[in-house]
Each structure stands twice: as structure tokens, then as C-alpha cells.
Assembly symmetry: D2
């Protein structure tokens, strides 16, 4: 193990995934996990899959000095504590929304203002498929929003290939699992109310639009539905390019963008049961699947994208970015292929 | 009981729902249910909820003379047997796609041609909210497609109110349950493969587009996803009107179209857990829920619509239409309010 | 409508089911539903299936005078307010555990003592299959516990037929849905933690043992598991009779006990998919299914029993008992047959 | 990679899990996967999680020579082809029931006779916790039945500790997921019929009783229910020891049996949401969880046991046994810790 690591906010869902990934990572050693509510409890108390891990939650007030600190705290916490985090670690990877956007203006528009805007220009967005070249040596890395990640992965090749320029009409209809709501949850997240739903939970004005707009220069019509799964985000992008596109050009576009990416797969048609991207097929993994279909009648291009919101959309993306930032093999600790069959992911 | 009724194709899912509805209907008496595969078995053998019903499946070759015949056979069967059906019953209600469209040309475009095109102009579409005035006295009624029904119910008020004229961009992203695939099913419908999915199962060119186009004069960009529920169809319509719309106008539009409709509810915001239309809230009922949200940033109007695909989207719609066709109280036999809480519908 | 009714504790799950049943009941008129937390909200705010019902929650402090008051409050509340309830209504039907047992000693053993033990001998247990003859004219009716109800319905015919005398070994392994936990719920009931579980939630010493012991004179080894459904209780009773039993005797026993019962069905083997009792087959209904299989190798008799915990196990049982108590047709308001197919009940 | 391996019957569920485990195993190289139905298709065609694996199914008639052959064929196939398998590989690991029992008489009693009884005494049962000492160098290893495995793991420590001797009353109530039914499946396994069930699918006379009886010398009263999950087997053993047991003795018994086992965890009480063994907590892993609770009132001991039926109950057990048989590190290729939270496993 080459690097020491800590997880701040280790009792939540993404905190648990970070602990699992770092504990199984050949180059990281977890030396601290913090939790205010569960101080002195074992990490297995909150995360039953980690019952074999010999570590107890400690107070977030006493941060140990580590090589890499991963913050999985609620939005707004990291911006208050970023100086502490930076004192404690050379590399800070933040999983909240606090450092994803570039400017204070954007935060004022989409969030409730920013406590330390001077860090915004220093932070790097964590998604390697979008931002790999800026990650090596980064001090502060901001892991992307899960729904934004799914959308960005689906649409980016269209910009790379010139199919989209940024002023086209794009509707993004996202379906997500209940883990997006985090641990605890209220009445709407209770099993009797949440089971079996198709619930419009962010009909308009979802904050992840800001990340998409920042990276693609594209204003998207974005709507998020909650469906009955725990993990997973599926983005269906209904795209209306200015000029008709052909299937072979689309295959070329996705191959050009993702042909060398270790975690991206293009799935579009073919045989068998799983013919397009599905969250279920990537559940538990850091893989992202993208695919497409052309609708000549409506001059439409439909792009499908599926990730595990806890992995490629959060903790996996964070570890992937940390690997790149620290010069570790990109796929280290992220090789899990997923299961088949599996129930609700 | 005023009318005798039979169900042809009684062993399938919609056949079972028809039997349940007609058996509990104050004005119908079920005298026959046919099934080639389960001849002589009780209806409860296939439909455990009907174990108390004293009726056995008989051969579809020997149709009894009844007042109303409901056909719940696969697409293509009714067009072959329509003369037999018409001989057996004054009123035929067909739940397949065979008589939904107006012209032979449409069938040639969307299906595989039509065996008896002369019946097309005689048939009436079953959706009373769209077509009530044409139903009384109809000889042949064609129950609508479930996904088309959800979409039509969501969009029709926008045409009534002049928000849409027919040449606007409209994306319809539908989420449906596994009962749409019918009884039996292959590998893709097996529980291990079908659980917990968000699966693009009709990315483009879904045949229900034809019904929507016929009734609204609108070409929609239509995509259907299978999600983890058994019953239910949820249509999210992303609409881009030529002129901006206001919330109060939208409320007015839906009130004008559905204020007097016994089975339609408008749900848009407000408090509680269920703030927009959800299939779960109407599961088992003939109710349809519609709602909307305005997205000024993208000049978009988002319309949500939810039904039970087996009820408002099929068997319930058929009985509702039969009630109107025969001059029975519209809501007779369809009063069930649904359950709360309930699991996957 | 002959009788006025109120529901105290109308915002919870069983309160909502009571409102639904009474609203659709030909002989009851709902004049009040109380809720401390949701005072002045519509009942549809909490129960989306009741959006069409024109009633708002009022304070539980101001009880209207009614013919029948149904109390769906948490355990311990009714015993504190029973005098108020009795002042407000001639017939009180309580759905909590407060009046199910006969003696103060039993309450001291299984619960935390009783605030008004003098009511215990006046109350009648609500399950008509067990206690029909005592219900007519009852002033205070105590609806049974859902798990106890499932077990009692399964085992009672064995006592009627002399297969069991009370000193045999009986293991009862129960599987229940999430609605048993009530509305709200904490971390263990949240969708991410509760989905897909088989969780031992009452390994031993479940309080419903007391009801079973009281009515059958049998000490049962009782264990309850939570599984992934919302509604439903399934009890599997592993019974070791002193003498071997034969299939035809078992059929005779169940026929003798339940042949005339309007809500009981015996299901044991036969063909099709649903060959034994299943909660899914009775979801939403007041029906109970019982069945059995003989295991000669182990001298064992396995008895299966399935109900909807919200209906036959709670609100439906309460209305059924009220029907009998007030001399109304037994099945009035409880005719719903259930749905097929349906997802997680 | 030290050993070459092949998977016969690679298109089924356990075949897919074997391919995943062997592909990620540091000491195995997969050189062949056979499938009659999917010959020449990629393994990813059937197993979407293996889309990145560069291997196509070949005919089961042409077996390559390998170090280890894993057979994941339906019951009855291996006994017909065992000579071919033995010719092709030094070590054969069979996942069917064909070689689990010791004698021809047992097969005649529980199955339909055996085609090559001479192999029965040569085969070794695969469960290392039960049979580790016999595995090194074994030529033919028989992976145990999933339900038997769950039960054996729960009860074995009671025999080791002298709590049970073999003539006590033991009821085993098992709950399993839909993957036990295998790929394909008929109407009973279709999503609409299989969702949300608690279905008695083997009320009595389950064949896995034979394995339990063979290893523990105990006749168990065994009943299996299908519940709504895909992976997982949970066995609840209701045990009636001759003498009372104490909690500390039970902890001692489980510690003695499993304290050094790399894949066994004892979970009994404590805090948090997951207080007893749950399939969900071990989904996707080779871990088994056991736990217990004492019921003094009924002189009963309740033992809970949970595994992933596809892993510890099948493919994982097979690889674990192969590791031991070949002298590889026991945990190699089986280190995955599982996910939290996760939906239906």
C-alpha cells in the first residue's frame, strides 16, 4: 500500500462505498473513517458488507494526516471545512456538489451561495472521460453528480464528433434508484411508499443541469424520475441534431470517444436480453454503458446511458479520479465486473 | 343484470381483468369465457383472485350468443374472427390493436396489413374522454393501446386549450410494467432478468405512435422503457409550445377538459408524498392522473400522466366504453378506488 | 346509509384502509377522520387513492357522536381514551392490541400493563371465523393482530377436527410485508435498507403469541421474517400431531370449518401457478387462504395461511366484525376480489 | 495463472457465475465455455456483466483438455458424461446433484436412479466448512445444493458442540430467490407472476433433505418458500434440543466451528439495521452468515443462516473447493465483499 486514506462522512451510503473500495484497493490503506452519529461504532455496524473490516468511526473533528482524504459529507459541509481537509491531506476528493462548478455566479444561481469561492478555480471535475488530462497532481477533485455523469457520458461523444454543437434541442429523461436519497430518509423514502414507483421527483430545474451546461455548453431539458431500484441512474437523451445522422457515424463517434476507455461500453442493439444500456448490467461496478438508436421519422437520435449512481456516479468515480491524480493504475481497485443475474440493483 | 357478456381469450391478463370487472358489474352477467389452452379449467386456475367464480373456460370455436362480446385475443386474431364475433353479439369490444386505426393505409404502415379493412370505418375508439359522443350504440369498439392512452390523456387538454396545434416538438418518454408483455413470456420476462430494470424496450417506432397521430394530428418522439412494476404506464411528455404558458392557464386547460370526467384527476404539486401522477396511486383502478410543471428556462412544459395499463389502459377502458355504448351508468363496475399503501403495482 | 362512522387515527395505513372501506360501504357514512399531525389536510393528502374523497382530518380531541367509531391509533392510545370513545359511539372497534387479551395478567406478561383493565372482559375479539357468535351487539370490538390472525385461521380447523389438542409441538414461521411497520418508519424501513430482504425481525417472543395461546390454548414457537412486499402475512405452521393424518381428513377438517365462511378459501395443490395460499392472491381483499401438505417421513403436517395484513389482518377484519356486530350483511363493503396479476402486494 | 479451466454449461446462471469468478481468479485461465444453445455467441450475449470477456461458447461435444473442468449442467447430464469430463480434466467440479450423495440407494430414494454409481464413492462434497480435509487432491468434487448448504452451515456447529445428536426435532423453513429456478423458466417464473410472492414451492420432500441427512445424520422437516429476490437462500432452523442451552454456549459453539473460517460470520443481535443473517448482506459474495436466538418459553433454539445461493450455495462454493483441491490460497478469486445498500439481491 502506497497511500494512506481517510473517509470523512463514512456512515452514509457513498461513505460506505468509499470504504469498501479503498479497503480492497492495492494502493490505499484506510486509516480513518469519521462519523459524528456513529462515533466508536464499527464500520460494519452501518455497512453490513464491511463486518470483516477492523475499523471504528471516529470524530470528524480530529482528522488524521493522510495522503488522500475523501469527503462524503452532505452538500455545504465541505465548503465550510475545506481548509481543514486541505491541511490534513495533500489530495482532497470531495463527493458533494461544493466544488463541481467553476464560478461563484453559478453557485449563486443553482445553489445557495458559496462559502469559499476561491477554491472553485482550483478544483478539478473528477470524471476522467471528460477531464483526464487535468487530474494528475490535482489537490482538490470534485466528484460529479450522478445524474449529470450519466448524461455527460451519453452526450459527450456527440460533441466530440460534431453531431451536436450546443444549441440543439435536447431532452434528458432520467430514472434513478432510492440510494440517491441517501441513508435515513423520510416518509417518501419509506419502503411502503417508495416501492414500485414511477415518481417525478425533479420535474424541472434539477441542479445537475448546471454541470451539464458547464461541460457541454448545452442547456438541457432535464427531468428525473424515481423508480424501483436502489442503485442506478439511467439517462435517456432525446436529441434533435441539425442534420440527419447515420448508424455507422454514431458507432464511429462512440468508438472514437470511448474505444480506449477502460470503463465505458457501447451497447446498441444486437441480440439477447440486454440490448441497450441498463443500470442492472453495471450495478456494483464502475462501468458505464452508452448506446443509441436513430428515429428518422422524427429526426431524432435517442441516446441511452446507464451507470451505478453509487459507483461511476459517485464513489467509483472518486477513486478512479484519485487513481489518475496520484498516478496509480487507473483501474486499480475498480475491477469488479458485476453480477448476473441480480435483482433490483 | 341486464346484459349477457362473454370474454374471448379469457386466460390472459386482460381477459382475467375483464372477467373480474364484468363479474362484479351490476349490469353484466358473464356467460362464457373462452380459452383454447385451458379449456375446461376453472377461471380461477389461471386467475387466483377469481377462485370464487363458478365458470370454466370453453372453446373459442363455440361462441354463445350474448349482448356484448369482449375480445382479449392477441393482435391479428380479431380481424380474422370479427364476422363470428359480430354474429355472436350485438356489441363487440375488441382489446387488440386490430380496429384502432381508421384506414387500411395506416395498418399497412404500422402493422402487417389488415384482413378485413371494411370494419375499420365502422369501429369506434374506446376512450370516452376522447370519443364519448361516438360510443352510444356502437357495434364495434376498439379499446386503445395502453401507452397511447396515457399519452393521449396527458396531451389532449393542450389541444383543447390551444396550447398545442400539432406541429410542435413533443417527446414522450413512457415507463411501463411487465404485464404489458402478457402472460407466459420468455427469457426477457423471467423474474431474474426482469427484476429491477430500466430497460429501453421500444427505443423508437412504437406502434402506439399511430394512435396518437390519428387522434391528435401530432407526430411524437416516442420511447418506452420497462421498469420494475407489474401494472402501470407512466407517460412523461416534454412539450415545447410556440408561446410561453402560465400555470393558471394550464390548470384551466386541465379543468376544462377533465373537470366533469368521472375517472380523471389532475395532480400537480401540492404537499405530501404523491405530488404528481404515479401509476402506483391508480393501480387496480380505472382512474387516470394527469399533471404538469413548467420549465421556463427551457421554454418547456412537462406533462405527466399515469394509468393502470390493465385498467384505464385496457380492460377498464373497455368496460367504460361498453357502459357508454349500452347506455349504462358510466362508472358502473369501475368504482374501485385503489389501495394505499401498495407495493409494486 | 344507515350508520355514521368515524376513524380516529385516520392518517396511518390502517386508518386509510378503514376510510376507503367505510367510504365505499353501502351502510356506513364517514363523518369524521382525525389526525393530530395532518389536521385540516384532506384525507387524500395522506392517501392518494382517496383524493376523490371530500373530507379533511380533524383534531382527535373533538370527537363527533357517531354510531361506530373505529380507532386506528398506536398501541396504548385506545386504553387511555376508551371512555371518550365509548361516549362518542355506541360501537367502538379498536384496531390496536389494547383490548385483544382477556386479563390484566396477560397484558402484564406480554405488554407494559393496562390502563383500564375493567374493559378487558367487555371486549370481543373481532375475528368472525373464531368469534362470530359473540359479536352481535358488542360495544367494544378488538381487531386481531395480523400475524395472530393468519396463524389462527390456519390452525383453528385442526382443533375443530380434533387433530390438535393443544399440547403438540407447533412451529409458526411468518413472513410479512413492510406495511406492518406503519407509516413513517426509520432507517430499517427505508427503501434502500428494506428492499429485497429476508430479515428475522421477531426471532422469538412476538406478542401475537399471546392471542394464539388465548384462543387455541396452544403455545406456539413463533418467528416472524420481514420480506419484500408491502402488504401480506403468510404463516407456515409446522405441526406434529400425535397421530398420523390423511389428506381426506384434512380436506374434511377445512371444509367443516370454512365451507360456509364467505371469506375463506382452501387451496392445496391442484394445478396452475398458485397452488398454495399466497398473500399476493388475496392482496387488497378481505379473503384468507389456507392450505396444507402432509409430510409422512417426518410425521409432520404443514399448514399454509395467507392474508392481507391490512385487510383480513386489520381494517377488513374490523369492518367485517362491525358488520356482524351491527347486523349488516357480513360481506357488505368487502366484496373486492383482488387483482391478477399484481406486483409486490 | 497456473491452471487452465473450462465451464461446461456456461450459458446458465451458475455457469455465468463460474465464468466471472474464474476470469477474475489469479490462478485460473478460462479456455473454454460450452453451450449447446448459444454456440459461437459471446459469453457477454448471455451474461451482460461479462461483455468485456473475449470468449465465445463452443460445443459441449468438443471438450478441451484442461486442469479443471467445472460442470454447470442440469441434473442428470453429468452422470451421463462423467467419463468425458474425467478424460478432459484432472479435476472435475460438478455443480449438479449428480455426485452429492454417497450411495446408489440414496439416489434411488431421492432421485431417479444413477447412471454411474461407481463414481459416488470417489466424489467429495465441496463444502470446505464440512469437508475441507477430504478435498486436497480430489478428482471429482460435488458442489452442494444451495438450500442444503444454508442449512448445513447453520446446524453443523450444534453437532460439533454436542447441542444436537441427530434425533431431535428440527424444522427448517427456507426462503429462496428466483435464480434457483435457473434461466428461462415458465409461467410461474415470469415477472408478473413471480413478483412480490411468498410461495410455498417445496412444501415437503425437498431433495436437499438427503444431503442434510447424509452429513448430519439428522432428519429435518424441510419446507422451501420462494420470495421476491433473485439471489439468496435464508434458512431458519427451529431446533428443540434435549437440554436447555445458554447464549454464551451458543456463541462458543459458533466461534469454535467458524472462528477460523475465512468466509463465515456469526451475527446475532447487536445494533444497527442488520442484526441477524440476511441474504442481502452477503449477496454477490462467498460469505455465509449464521446467527441464533434462544426461546426459553418454548425450549427452542432458532438458528438463522444466509448465503447467496449462486455463490456460497453454488459457483462460489465450487471455486472455493477447487482452491482447496488444487492447493491454491483458499480465498483466491472470492474476495468480493458485497455491496451496501443494494436492492433485491
Amino acid at each position: 500500500m502506497t497511500y494512506t486514506a481517510s473517509v470523512v462522512g463514512g456512515s452514509g451510503f457513498t461513505g460506505g462505498e468509499l470504504l469498501r473500495l479503498l479497503d480492497g484497493h492495492p494502493e490505499f490503506e484506510v486509516v480513518q473513517a469519521t462519523s459524528r452519529s456513529y462515533e466508536r461504532k464499527t464500520v460494519g455496524h452501518q455497512h453490513p458488507n464491511l463486518r470483516g473490516m477492523d475499523l471504528r468511526f471516529s470524530s470528524p473533528e480530529d482528522l488524521e494526516s493522510v495522503d488522500a482524504l475523501f469527503a462524503a459529507t452532505p452538500h455545504g459541509v465541505s465548503m465550510e471545512r475545506i481548509d481543514d481537509f486541505s491541511d490534513a491531506a495533500d489530495t482532497v476528493v470531495d463527493l458533494s456538489a461544493d466544488f463541481r462548478l467553476d464560478t461563484e455566479e453559478q453557485y449563486d444561481e443553482w445553489y445557495d451561495g458559496h462559502a469559499c469561492p476561491e477554491y472553485l478555480e482550483k478544483s478539478e471535475y473528477a470524471l476522467p472521460e471528460l477531464n483526464r488530462e487535468n487530474l494528475p497532481g490535482a489537490d482538490l477533485v470534485a466528484s460529479g453528480g450522478c445524474n449529470a455523469t450519466a448524461t455527460l457520458l451519453g452526450l459527450k461523444p456527440l460533441f466530440d464528433a460534431g453531431v451536436l454543437a450546443g444549441d440543439e434541442q435536447v431532452v434528458v429523461d432520467v430514472k434513478v434508484g432510492s440510494s440517491e436519497g441517501g441513508a435515513g430518509g423520510g416518509a417518501a423514502s419509506s419502503h411502503p411508499e417508495r416501492s414500485g414507483i414511477v415518481r417525478p421527483y425533479a420535474p424541472t430545474s434539477h441542479r445537475h443541469e448546471a454541470e451539464i451546461e458547464q461541460f457541454l455548453g448545452l442547456s438541457v431539458s432535464f427531468t428525473v424520475h424515481a423508480v424501483d431500484m436502489v442503485r442506478g441512474a439511467s439517462a435517456t437523451c432525446h436529441v434533435f441534431p441539425d442534420s440527419p445522422v447515420e448508424k455507422k457515424d454514431m458507432w464511429g463517434a462512440y468508438r472514437d470517444s470511448y474505444g480506449d476507455e477502460p470503463f465505458m461500453r457501447t451497447v446498441a442493439g444486437g441480440g439477447g436480453v440486454y440490448r441497450y444500456p441498463e443500470p442492472k448490467a453495471v450495478a456494483g461496478t464502475n462501468y458505464g454503458e452508452v448506446g443509441f438508436e436513430i428515429d428518422p421519422k422524427n429526426r431524432r437520435l435517442v441516446v441511452f446511458s446507464a451507470i451505478d449512481n453509487m459507483m461511476k456516479g459517485s464513489a467509483g468515480q472518486a477513486v478512479h479520479a484519485a487513481n489518475v491524480a496520484l498516478g496509480i493504475e487507473e483501474t486499480a481497485g475498480l475491477e469488479f465486473q458485476g453480477l448476473h443475474p441480480v435483482g433490483a440493483p
